[in-house]
């Protein structure tokens, strides 16, 4: 069963990696698939992203102000600053004159590798790095050409610096003066990009362009949108996923002042009842006064206790093989005391971005306009078009700033866009802002699935793993969904997003067998920041830690010994970690312990060490040190922020409130009081980040840190308490 391995790069495998290979192999088939499904048109595959005129990406005013257009949503990850930095460097722009804006949905803004306008797989910088460099370089070339023509000198004798073109004989002209001439120049077919030593902005610590506006209340998010005549809508959703409406009484709801309409509406899962009102509060009051009789008899009522028991039973048997190397029965030949048998259990998790989901759509009969902080903008535009019965090009789709995403803003079924479009269709000519309340968000599904793992590890010479048998049980994201990405992500019955982190582990394990049992549960699931790594890296890194502890070898030294030679970034990041933590590791106070973990996402590697004690029965993380190898760091401040961010986000898995439970089909959590994410006291007191110097292309940092913090912390706890923590979230007091 090696075919799957051939299709998956053994290292740095990721959803994004798949898509890149698949898109290249299929020649843009993915794009054609989606557009065909949306518009019903047959046709040839469109190019992934048409050759872009710079003016779609950069505008230079006569006053020298430079506006750079960012081809994807900003949800906190920092692309709004980093992508302009890339373009501005090759442009030789005066950075202080640069502002940025988010592109609306258009072919020219499609991700050049993925063929869709989207954010995902921590791939934004990696995929648009060369693209934005070329855009900057082409624009610079046009400005130089304009100046050279003006001065009648060869362009090659001109140079640029800080938004000024300098001629060979002391001439100079500012970009603002040259802009309109430059715009008339032909677009150069090829440009030369800078050598690493010539970079002036890339690699520098640059504060965010959107920083000030986000500190004075002026930054607008989707939820802040106000349009003339706009109405606000909430949808009453079925208490069990997929339920429908038997009947409803809206008399009390309609009596609320400011309520305009109440009607039944189709959802991707089941049906609901929408309330349209003058504002959020009357809509909320009215929705609470709806009397709805739900039909939930014909849908499965998921129950997390029952699911857990079922998964634990299924984990006793191997599933569909995802990886098989060496002797599959080697583990059985080892003595009991040379074997670790470990069972792990992971709950459903909500993403819970700070800004609840929202989308605004207005339908004008033959066209529409939409505003959405979308991580899947091309697909959302096409979904809105499909619901409204118009061509995608007739939907002007604005991408607005989002208050966090972590995967939540890019569901492949485009459910938010479809719901919003259905509302707009009901009231043509009116802009309708659909809002999900926090309760809707916590209870609305699209979770990181539950998983159970059963692992048998055989201990070989010098305490190294000699054999590894691993069964993973849980829902697939893609299998049997018919969604466009399915053929690229599900091969031979294995969903790559479920096994990533195990099949591409970095260690020398001669006999390894990983299999997966994909389950079907009536709970919608979705990529949760770092997806398969969230549980797989936890399992691998806690077991590796246990092996190291049994062998009485330092956890860093053990990993350095066990890494395969063909994982250079694991090695470089772990060595840097070793160096940067040597001092504090040697001086741990009493009651403090070290925990180590490492991981990789999309070819960016991270090694993490934490210093943990137990205070009031809870883990207290005094410090977290990260060493990352992610190619060139476009903006080290962004890299550091994403490490901080990924670490705290990853702690969602550990904090006691971090679980969604379901009883007889009903989600038991309501809001942050019952699904409780990490607050300030849960976060490390200090985080230091060290970046391996590199001139290789950037490979991203959005998800890389998330999977390593939880295993690092529980590895430290294991050193303190002697217990291994294999069921998440933690139960306190410890």
């Amino acid at each position: 069963m090696r075919r799957l391995i051939d299709a998956i790069p053994a290292r740095g495998m990721s959803r994004r990696g798949f898509l890149r290979r698949s898109a290249a192999a299929a020649g843009g088939l993915m794009v054609a698939l989606y557009l065909e499904r949306a518009a019903g048109a047959a046709g040839n595959a469109a190019p992934a992203a048409p050759a872009a005129p710079p003016d779609a990406f950069v505008r230079i005013g006569a006053d020298g102000k430079i506006t750079i257009v960012v081809n994807r949503v900003e949800v906190g990850q920092g692309v709004h600053t980093a992508l302009p930095m890339i373009l501005a460097d090759e442009l030789d722009a005066d950075w202080s004159a640069v502002t940025a804006e988010l592109a609306p949905v258009a072919d020219v803004y499609k991700d050049p590798v993925l063929g869709l306008q989207m954010v995902g797989g921590s791939s934004s910088i990696a995929n648009s790095f060369t693209q934005y460099r070329e855009l900057g370089a082409k624009t610079r070339a046009m400005l130089v050409a304009a100046a050279a023509a003006r001065w009648r000198v060869p362009p090659g004798r001109c140079r640029t610096e800080n938004s000024v073109v300098y001629g060979p004989d002391g001439q100079s002209a500012r970009y603002g003066e040259l802009a309109s001439d430059a715009a008339r120049r032909p677009l150069p077919a090829k440009v030369q990009l800078k050598q690493p030593s010539e970079l002036r902005i890339i690699g520098r610590r640059v504060p965010r362009l959107d920083g000030r506006a986000k500190c004075d209340g002026s930054q607008k998010f989707g939820l802040d949108l106000a349009l003339p005549g706009m109405k606000t809508a909430l949808i009453a959703r079925p208490p069990v996923f997929g339920g429908t409406v038997k009947s409803f009484d809206d008399k009390a709801a309609r009596a609320v002042a400011g309520v305009l309409d109440v009607f039944e509406v189709p959802l991707v899962h089941g049906r609901g009842v929408a309330v349209v009102a003058d504002g959020f509060w009357p809509a909320k009051l009215a929705r609470a006064r709806l009397a709805i009789e739900w039909d939930v008899a014909s849908v499965e009522h998921a129950d997390t206790d029952a699911i857990l028991a079922s998964y634990q039973a299924r984990a006793q048997r191997p599933g569909t093989v995802a990886l098989a190397a060496g002797d599959a029965s080697a583990i059985d030949k080892l003595e009991r005391d040379r074997t670790i048998v470990a069972e792990y259990a992971f709950p459903f998790l909500a993403h819970a971005p700070m800004e609840p989901l929202n989308a605004t759509v207005r339908f004008d009969g033959d066209r529409a306009e939409a505003w959405i902080a979308s991580s899947g903008a091309t697909m959302d535009q096409a979904a809105i078009a499909e619901v409204l019965g118009v061509a995608p090009a007739k939907v002007t789709c604005h991408v607005v700033f989002g208050g966090g995403s972590f995967g939540r803003r890019g569901p492949l079924d485009c459910h938010l866009a479809r719901e919003a479009a259905a509302l707009a269709k009901h009231r043509p000519g009116t802009s309708i802002k659909l809002v999900w309340t926090r309760e809707d968000d916590i209870q609305g599904g699209y979770y990181r699935p539950m998983f159970v793992h059963r692992v048998q590890v055989g201990i070989g010479a010098e305490g190294m793993p000699a054999a590894w048998r691993h069964v993973i049980v849980g829902q697939s994201f893609m299998k049997d969904t018919g969604l466009p990405f399915e053929p690229f992500l599900v091969k031979d019955g294995v969903d790559a997003l479920v096994v990533e982190g195990t099949v591409n582990h970095p260690y020398t394990i001669p006999n390894i067998h990983v299999s997966v049992d994909h389950t079907k549960v009536n709970v919608p699931v979705l990529s949760w920041r770092s997806i398969g790594y969230t549980h797989n890296t936890f399992v691998v890194e806690t077991l590796i830690d246990e092996l190291a502890a049994r062998a009485k070898v330092d956890p860093i030294a053990y990993r350095l010994r066990l890494f395969r030679p063909d994982v250079p970034r694991f090695i470089s990041s772990m060595k840097l970690l070793d160096d940067k933590t040597a001092a504090w590791r040697a001086a741990l106070p009493a009651g403090h312990a070290l925990g180590v973990a490492c991981g990789m996402y999309n070819r960016s590697a991270i090694a993490c060490a934490v210093e943990v004690s137990i205070e009031h029965g809870k883990p207290r993380i005094h410090r977290a040190t990260a060493a990352v190898d992610c190619g060139i760091a476009v903006n080290p401040m962004t890299i550091e922020a994403q490490v901080h961010s990924g670490f705290v986000f990853g702690l969602t898995q550990l904090v006691p409130g971090g679980a969604i439970t379901i009883k007889d089909g009903i989600v038991q959590q309501r809001n942050f009081e019952s699904f409780t994410p990490p607050y300030l006291a849960d976060a490390p007191l200090e985080i230091d980040v060290h970046i391996v110097p590199s001139t290789e292309e950037p490979t991203g940092m959005g998800e890389t840190p998330v999977p390593v913090i939880a295993p690092a912390v529980v590895n430290a706890l294991a050193a303190l308490t002697g217990k291994r923590y294999r069921t998440l979230p933690l139960v306190t007091p410890l």
Binding site: R208, G211, Q219, A683
Partner: protein, 154 residues
Amino acid sequence: MTTFQLEVNGERRTVAVDPSTPLLWVLREGLQLTGTKYGCGIGACGACTVHLGGVATRSCLVPISLVGDRGVVTIEGIGKDAMGAAVQTAWVETDVVQCGYCQSGQIMTAVALLKARPAPSDAEVEQSMGGTLCRCGTYVRIRAAVRRASSQMK
């Protein structure tokens, strides 16, 4: 619908809303002051924090009928206050924000802390800022920015 007179950021404003309407939605939709955010609606996240009568208050919880004649200061107005401006500057200089959605509430809470405790201990910072949620995980920089604002105002 009832008419209410409010003082918001030093200006007298008039709104006509249902008396049960939380101050948050009066600000956001009645007065188009969208800097104060809706994160949860139950006071668990702090994104809606304003100063009401000088007290850091979770505006999603306070029906307009209970505001009375207490003045409201929002993120849009806090910059006119010396401590408010110092906190905002410290936030920008520390490059605290990521998505930024929680930061109005973080800043308003930090200003309230520093006005009462101009030189707070780490523990005091943790207690005062410990109830305001950030899903992007900017907490380490929040601590640093509070310390920075405190030392700038010495």
